[in-house]
């Protein structure tokens, strides 16, 4: 039997997922890892769509690409401030262009 289009597509996305997951683990800097995790969430959502699971894809999109990376970024932000007790000495570059 020859695989149909869906299955070929699924296999391609699966391999991408495997690669991104590996990169996510090997990215040792947590801030960068959060970005890779968001990409992983995105590719997983794509995979789930291909596998005909739109419900799951939708939640993976919300959780994997938005909430988990956001929580990680917030954690890192608190931790970085903890590392530099002198608040005025650290200017954090916030994504929204905050002006402290």
């Amino acid at each position: 039997m020859n695989p149909d289009v869906t299955e070929v597509l699924a296999l391609v996305v699966l391999l991408v997922v495997a690669v991104v997951a590996t990169v996510a683990v090997l990215t040792r800097d947590p801030a960068r890892q959060a970005v890779v995790l968001a990409v992983l969430g995105l590719t997983l959502a794509l995979l789930f769509t291909v596998l005909q699971a739109p419900d799951v894809a939708l939640s993976q999109l919300g959780v994997g690409t938005a909430i988990t990376p956001l929580l990680i970024m917030l954690t890192l932000r608190r931790i970085r401030r903890g590392d530099a007790p002198d608040e005025t000495g650290t200017k954090e570059s916030a994504p929204e262009g905050e002006d402290r």
Binding site: I67, L74, E87, R100
Partner: protein, 251 residues
């Protein structure tokens, strides 16, 4: 154990696991198999229950007990985060500085906020019909609120986010799910039994208890995620000062 010894130990174990796992997979039905006995039964039951979205029917009707457990985990982690991220005596709150927001960003956020809120409500409400449901919609609703952060700043987010109220809403929604299950018992049926009229297939009111539980889950997820994020945002943006007791610099 030294780091290298640990890694060697792990790699040896992982190699063994990999070998057995690969061999195990050769015994599995091939990818795309047609044999899904439970799946077929679940589809048949879904159609009997006048629910169009099979996944919603499984989550909120056939295996609603799983979802009850899952929502309890969410409640537990919201309570847990509340306890863990409480502001201790040695920490102070501070007000993050005034933030300059580009007018275009503000416009973008202000326009997007109602759209996102509506989308969230739509996804929750159509859970029994189309992909989506309480969980997905709840996440969208929670994210929508945080557009306020993009559009304005943390202070305005805090103003439109009544956290104490949402704490309560989260708990009430979780309790509502548990209580809805009792409806079955009271009418002489089983716990969590779908005892409401099933309605017409493919309409908003179809599926009996499904849309009701779905809505409760939507409310719980939305408020739960907002509260969770609120604790994290509070720690990240508006808390400072701590005492480290031990081990600074020791190895």
């Amino acid at each position: 154990m030294s780091r290298s010894a640990r890694v060697r130990l792990f790699l040896g174990a992982a190699a063994a696991i990999a070998v057995f796992y690969v061999l195990a997979c050769t015994g599995l039905p091939h990818f795309g198999t047609a044999a899904h006995p439970y799946g077929d039964r679940a589809v048949a039951a879904t159609l009997r229950q006048h629910t169009a979205n099979t996944v919603s029917s499984i989550n909120f009707d056939q295996r609603a007990f799983d979802t009850l457990g899952e929502e309890s985990i969410l409640l537990g982690s919201v309570l847990g985060a509340t306890a863990l991220l409480r502001r201790t005596d040695d920490e102070q709150e501070f007000t993050p500085g005034q933030v300059r927001v580009l007018p275009s960003t503000r416009l973008f956020g202000t326009l997007l906020l109602p759209v996102a809120l509506l989308t969230g409500v739509y996804i929750v409400a159509h859970g029994q019909l189309s992909p989506g449901g309480g969980f997905q919609g709840g996440v969208v609703l929670a994210s929508a609120l945080h557009l306020a952060y993009v559009a304005a700043d943390y202070r305005s987010l805090k103003e439109i986010r009544p956290r104490e109220l949402l704490d309560g809403v989260d708990a009430v929604a979780a309790g509502a799910f548990t209580t809805l299950g009792l409806a079955g018992l009271i009418t002489g049926a089983a716990y969590l039994q779908n005892v409401l009229p099933l309605g017409t297939f493919n309409t908003l009111s179809s599926g009996g208890l499904v849309p009701v539980i779905n809505a409760a889950v939507g409310v719980e997820v939305a408020s739960g995620v907002i509260v969770l994020l609120a604790h994290f945002l509070d720690q990240a943006l508006a808390t400072r000062g701590e005492r480290t007791t031990t081990e600074r610099g020791s190895s």
